[in-house]
Point group: D2
Chain length 255, copies 4
Amino acid sequence: MVHNETSTGVTSDIAAVRRAIDAAGHPALLMVDTISGLACADYQHDGWGVDVTISGSQKGLMLPPGISFNAVSDKAIEASRRAQLPKSFWAWDEILEMNTSGYWPYTPNTNLLYGLNEALDMLLEEGLAQVFARHQRWAAGVRTAIECWGLEVQCQDPSVYSPVLTGVVMPEGIDADAVRRLIYQRFDLSLGTGLGKARGKMFRIGHLGDCNDLTLIATLGGCEAGLKLSGAKLEGSGVLAALDYFAAHPLDGAR
Amino acid sequence: MVHNETSTGVTSDIAAVRRAIDAAGHPALLMVDTISGLACADYQHDGWGVDVTISGSQKGLMLPPGISFNAVSDKAIEASRRAQLPKSFWAWDEILEMNTSGYWPYTPNTNLLYGLNEALDMLLEEGLAQVFARHQRWAAGVRTAIECWGLEVQCQDPSVYSPVLTGVVMPEGIDADAVRRLIYQRFDLSLGTGLGKARGKMFRIGHLGDCNDLTLIATLGGCEAGLKLSGAKLEGSGVLAALDYFAAHPLDGAR
Amino acid sequence: MVHNETSTGVTSDIAAVRRAIDAAGHPALLMVDTISGLACADYQHDGWGVDVTISGSQKGLMLPPGISFNAVSDKAIEASRRAQLPKSFWAWDEILEMNTSGYWPYTPNTNLLYGLNEALDMLLEEGLAQVFARHQRWAAGVRTAIECWGLEVQCQDPSVYSPVLTGVVMPEGIDADAVRRLIYQRFDLSLGTGLGKARGKMFRIGHLGDCNDLTLIATLGGCEAGLKLSGAKLEGSGVLAALDYFAAHPLDGAR
Amino acid sequence: MVHNETSTGVTSDIAAVRRAIDAAGHPALLMVDTISGLACADYQHDGWGVDVTISGSQKGLMLPPGISFNAVSDKAIEASRRAQLPKSFWAWDEILEMNTSGYWPYTPNTNLLYGLNEALDMLLEEGLAQVFARHQRWAAGVRTAIECWGLEVQCQDPSVYSPVLTGVVMPEGIDADAVRRLIYQRFDLSLGTGLGKARGKMFRIGHLGDCNDLTLIATLGGCEAGLKLSGAKLEGSGVLAALDYFAAHPLDGAR
């Protein structure tokens, strides 16, 4: 399952799924993709009983794309060793052995490992609780803007709003990808496209990693101007609403 | 004289000064500081009859600080050679001779020379007319915001508005440096302080080099929120006014 | 099969294998790993009738590790589409479709793509014939050094000497890994270890990508001093032999 | 006076000059240029009674060129304040005042200040005694090579050999600049030219900052090959002599 669904801006309750598996007495392994969630929202591989966690460098870890990571439980390792199927991704023995001495069986992306070291220092210096609160606050500011525009947030359930990105549903008759294209051409701002069924119906605003209140104001400014230039009737100024929100809600211990 | 006055946001009419000197038949050399003006606003060392031009890397040339440049007229070189005073800055013979073969008498800032090469390629590819129009448009957007706030632009004469930076005069009772400090702490945005007589009475917004409409919206957002948090009564939203201005005035051939 | 065997310093005759497959009328696909060979030695995916080629960024392309590449023949694509087995690495349809518009189905290593663009410009400006000749010359210089030491090159067949790296076989009683460790500690030089059966019996000297005659002299200097400090009896100075070789054999059109 | 004479590879006894000035009861200020000496050889602004010290970023501090530094004694500051002459370089009041709060009166080279911070951390972590010993050892290795070639070190007095660079005097009939040019073209190695009276008679080998034994072996290799290609009769191999020297003289606590 996916910890933070990048295509929709919805989070999942990993611990609840684990409890359900356990309640059913089912032996299935629990695998979680937290590529976009890690270091933005709380995530507990051990605490939540996850068997296989997958993440990557290019989201909350604030690095260029180029490396991904696995965390695996003893149960998963045991299953991997017993499994009869031919496997490559799931053949962990070699990398586990090499990792004990700090090496890899194949050539690692050395440069990003230096970056990862620095990124982790930055995150730990800030404190994970602060990091998570920072992302929640940005998400709340962005949702305030969307509400003020009179538009809908893609995620319908407030209890699973993503602190990482927010999907903006287009009003009737507005093609999200045409808006995105106009915003890119006029304002040099690249927004995430709607994926799959949501294609053309929404676009996505990221609010994660190394950004701040004002880079989000810039982003919302580009969205607001682009929507208006595309003929969308907005009920109010989301930019101002978000700016007021950020001004009224200082982040305690903000850096 | 100064081509673009960084402390106030006022430009000077260099050619007019040259004409006045010539009309008076005065032998004075004309020296111009265009450190913040070069590559933001039109500047013509030869065309305007300037004798000594001084510029630097860290403004319109979009580089880190670290190198500055001189352009000198034949008349200035001649005066330098005839001058009896002991001189160091003005002793150009050695550097002029070395420059003919592409070298310097002392160790140059090699790294910035590579950067300069790239920056000049970027500016020439865009075209200087476009570069200057881009800066004028940003300045107009920022002034629109200030006007909408009900505040004054430091420069009182529209014919000499700077395309590089704009000074914002504080309303009665608001300390510009306290506002700047609050904006820096709350929004991670660093604004230029008022200098000399203007200290505490204004702050400065730069709109030059490698920025775009939305980075200016971010800047104006930080200013607007900071002014309000500081108790300033603003007549309207400058952020929205600037956003509307930028949306309504696309830059022809914008990159 | 492997184009350039990194663990031994031996190249393979890809075209001959293709001819043998064809002569036998066998339908097998020909897959070649040229991770360390590409851009060091001639390689012809189409000309040699290769079906699947695999390469990477971190060798002849002079980039950090982090991206790898596939070239696939029509025959391989056809086989992939007909194949019944579940597949992930070999499921090319999605990436082939996205690549036509310059995109990827997953997040690419954007930074290295910029680097790749620059690296390819550098290689093409130099000319591939010159690039290959440059590597052959370095390899010849390194073998001259090894011969002068009275040691053996790991590759016994001169017709398949690698232009990319050369394995140095230790004299009786000398542990290659102890020599490598001493060289690393004393001279800050990291040499490739012997792999598999060759472990402890040889070490490997790379001579590829962005190096030059003198960086190889430095490398050979570290090897020579390290071997002597480890008690190896050398017949002569390989450093001097290589230096003489490089001096006597200028690379035509050397940059 | 100059702490380490870059054009000849000779150091000066700063403390002795101070003692001589004091013994003569002369009020002169003592100004020292340690641009190439600082962080390579011991230097004590306060301990040696220097009044004005000048240094720069691009030598022992291992940074690109772009910033220089002054250290000034109370006596020098006092003299500056009393002096009647118009002054710019020597007008320290403004910068001294700004520096107390960590700022500069003019735009500083911010990027190099970050680099300086890192460079100083590296030097202090290694320990200055170790840094100085490292440079002395490299200089001794290079002189061993020159002696083995049968050539002369430019500096005739062993008590003032420079730990930073060494001048190599050409044998009769060999033009140093022709040798330098050949070495540059054939081996991509750039050596310092002879300056002033020494032009054409010597070249200079730097051994400072971020280098190691093997980069010096590479340098000496380029010199040796270039001298021989230029027709110089060398008595022996300086490369081998230096390699033996470095092997026989490990640096205690070498990194």
